[in-house]
Each structure stands twice: as structure tokens, then as C-alpha cells.
């Protein structure tokens, strides 16, 4: 049986039981009821006390054996990415890519009113611009300038037709109105 004396022998079963109990205490597992004497309860209280707001034990999530991106490599990668983005942006701005794209996008909008909004988000994404106004007013075509050959000379008024096509039709009407008034003698 267990003895408190240091010179007395102890049996192997007791050693194993104590070792298992210490392992359970060390891993903060609950001890079996037969081991819950006052000394073990005091040790448990000490453990609860020192564990209070202490850093958690356990393996950190980072595995150091896996290659980690170091600070230098991160800086180089960020620099290359910034250079590519900056070059692309300058080229787009210098070549007028974004600005040219808008009239090209607006033309089919005026000619084919059947699909006015389908290509719009894609074109905006390609041009890397976000217009504040979804349907900006297009400047009026100067009088005498022929309309685009592919454009319909007399566009059908659609319910969802924008003022853009109305503006494109206005010079012709103004010219007819002036000619009619000159002919009637009512022009001043």
C-alpha cells in the first residue's frame, strides 16, 4: 500500500495510478471520482488559478516546416503587381481606351433599342470606369452631318427609348422647320 515514508517500498500499481493521475492533471482532464481527495482538489484549484487568463496551450496553427512567404518575397511580389497595374493603367489612359470605349458602347445603344442594357455592365467593366450617370446625354450631331450608315435613319420610337435618340433626330427636324418657315415667309 502507499506510504508517505521515503524509504518504504511502493508497488507498481500505485506508481502507475499516480502517473496516470498526474497526466490527467497536466492535461487538465477531470480525474476519476476515486482520485478526488482533498490534496487532488487543492491541486486542481491551483491549476484553475494559474490557468486563469493565461495563454492557451496547444500547437499554433502555423507550421514552420512549410515554406512561408518571407517579408522580402512579399515586398517583391507587391512591387511587381503594382508595376503591372500602374503600367496597364497608364497605357489605358494614354491610349484613350476607356474614353474611346464609351461612344462605341453608346452607338449600338441608340441604334438597337431592343437590348439597351445587356452589354452595358460588361463594357463598363472592360473600360474600368464607372459612370455616375447610367445614360449620359450625348452631344447633338452638327447639322448637315449624315447619320451613321448603320444607324437607322428613322428609328422606331420605343417606349423605353431614351432622350439620346431624340437628340439625334432634332437637327433634321430643325432644318425642316426652318425651310418650312422660310417658304411660308414667317421666318424672322
Amino acid at each position: 500500500m502507499t506510504s508517505a515514508g521515503d524509504s518504504e517500498p511502493v508497488d507498481l500499481g500505485s506508481l502507475r495510478a499516480t502517473d496516470a493521475l498526474f497526466d490527467r492533471l497536466a492535461t487538465r482532464l477531470p480525474e476519476p471520482p476515486e482520485d478526488q481527495d482533498s490534496a487532488v482538489l487543492l491541486l486542481r484549484s491551483l491549476l484553475d488559478d494559474v490557468d486563469d487568463a493565461a495563454p492557451a496551450t496547444g500547437d499554433p496553427a502555423v507550421d514552420p516546416r512549410k515554406p512561408r512567404r518571407t517579408g522580402v518575397r512579399t515586398a517583391v511580389a507587391l512591387g511587381v503587381a503594382s508595376a503591372v497595374l500602374a503600367t496597364t493603367g497608364v497605357a489605358a489612359a494614354g491610349g484613350g481606351w476607356a474614353e474611346r470605349d464609351e461612344p462605341r458602347r453608346a452607338a449600338p445603344q441608340s441604334s438597337s433599342s431592343a437590348k439597351p442594357d445587356r452589354k452595358k455592365p460588361k463594357a463598363e467593366a472592360e473600360a474600368h470606369i464607372t459612370p455616375a450617370n447610367p445614360a449620359p446625354p450625348r452631344p447633338a450631331r452638327p447639322p448637315g452631318r449624315p447619320a451613321h450608315p448603320k444607324a437607322s435613319p428613322t428609328p422606331k420610337p420605343a417606349p423605353e427609348e431614351t432622350s439620346h435618340s431624340q437628340v439625334a433626330r432634332t437637327p433634321e427636324e430643325i432644318r425642316k422647320l426652318i425651310e418650312q418657315r422660310l417658304h411660308d415667309g414667317t421666318w424672322r
Binding site: 508517505a4 518504504e8 492535461t27 482533498s38 491551483l46 488559478d49
Partner: protein, 215 residues
């Protein structure tokens, strides 16, 4: 000085066979050693993980040894921080001589704690800001009881012989295996198992005596 020897075991079976299963620390120890090897070679990630694993053990060990000052563990936590800094500083000079890395760490910790006990630092205790939300922590009565029981446990531990006290703290509070504890204290694993058994028997006897005297 050893208080027990393996020759005190009944029968002829050696204590070395009293290992029913590999303990948690035995399983994780090669990782710690591997981390230490990488950290010595200058791997910053390995050093970070190594300190991350060592620090919780050191904090608990320092808290158990030094206790609370003005109801707080700030002094013990400061010593634990000094231990971690000292480990980091000494890491380039660390050489794996076949002993667990924990023995290197707790060797430093023992010196730092001895320094702290000698100087008996009493520093200003910082207080937390006034909490805005409900406090989920235990109430004053429960906290007071836990403090008292923890102090009683420390009192009992300090009545043990030095080596048995260190052994219990390293095994139970810091969570070292018998082999690691033996390396720290200069004992075999079998001697550690016998000594911890005797230490627990003493603690039980003292706890019973304390209960009887309290009645």
C-alpha cells in the same frame, strides 16, 4: 539529492517499464526539438512557433511558483516574459545534447524565478478599465474561494522537499512528461515516477492533517 531510488521498488521489475502509453509530451517532444533545431538555424517562423508553445507552460510555472501579488499575476507574468526573452537570447547558443528542449527552458525559468524571489519586486499593479458589459468571470465569493484554495495548495507544496515541489510543479502545472521532468531535475524517469508518487502521498497526508486541524 534524490529522496528515492529505483531500488526501493518492490519486486524485480524496473520502474522503466512503468510507461503504459506514450504521454502527450513524449509525442510532442520531437516537434519541439525539431523546432529548436530550426530556430537555432535562424528560422524566424520556427522561433515564433517554438516560443508560442513554450510560453504557456512557462506562464503557468511562474504563476504557480510566484503566486499573486496584490491579487494579480502581473509579477509572475512579467517573469515569464523575461524567461521567454532569455530563451530567445540564449537560443543561438543552444546545442542539442540529447536532452529535451524543455529542460533548457525550465533551467532558465528556475534562475529567473530565483532572481525574482530575491529581489521581491513589488511593482505598481495596473488596473483594467471599467467594464461596460456584464462580467462573465466568477463572482467575488467564488473568486475568493479559488484564491484561498490555490494558496492552500501552494502552502502544501512549499512544505514539500524542494525537489518534490519542483517535480510536482513541472509535471502537473507545466505539463512536462516524466522524462522531461527528469532531465530538468537531473533524475531518471523512473525516479521521477517514484518521487511524484511519494510527493502525492505527502500532500494527501498534509491535506488530511490540515482539514482535521481546521475542524
Amino acid at each position: 539529492m534524490l529522496y528515492v531510488t529505483e531500488a526501493a521498488i518492490v519486486g524485480t521489475e524496473a520502474v522503466h517499464v512503468v510507461v503504459p502509453r506514450p504521454s502527450r509530451s513524449e509525442e510532442s517532444e520531437p516537434d519541439l526539438r525539431e523546432l529548436a533545431t530550426l530556430a537555432v538555424q535562424g528560422d524566424a517562423g520556427a522561433t515564433e512557433v517554438l516560443i508560442g508553445r513554450v510560453r504557456p507552460m512557462v506562464v503557468r510555472y511562474c504563476r504557480a511558483r510566484l503566486g499573486r501579488v496584490s491579487g494579480q499575476y502581473h509579477a509572475a507574468d512579467d517573469v515569464a516574459q523575461e524567461v521567454c526573452i532569455a530563451v530567445l537570447s540564449a537560443l543561438p547558443r543552444y546545442r542539442d545534447m540529447g536532452r529535451p528542449f524543455a529542460s533548457f527552458v525550465f533551467g532558465i525559468a528556475a534562475h529567473k524565478i530565483a532572481d525574482a524571489l530575491r529581489s521581491a519586486i513589488r511593482t505598481a499593479v495596473p488596473t483594467e478599465d471599467l467594464p461596460d458589459g456584464p462580467d462573465e468571470r466568477p463572482g467575488p465569493e467564488e473568486t475568493a474561494i479559488r484564491y484561498l484554495e490555490a494558496e492552500q495548495a501552494r502552502d502544501l507544496l512549499y512544505r514539500l522537499p524542494d525537489q518534490q515541489r519542483e517535480l510536482v510543479l513541472l509535471r502537473v502545472v507545466a505539463g512536462l512528461s516524466a522524462e522531461e521532468t527528469g532531465n530538468v531535475l537531473g533524475m531518471t524517469a523512473g525516479a521521477v515516477r517514484v518521487a511524484q508518487h511519494r510527493a502525492l502521498a505527502r500532500l494527501r497526508a498534509m491535506a488530511v492533517a490540515m482539514e482535521e486541524s481546521g475542524r
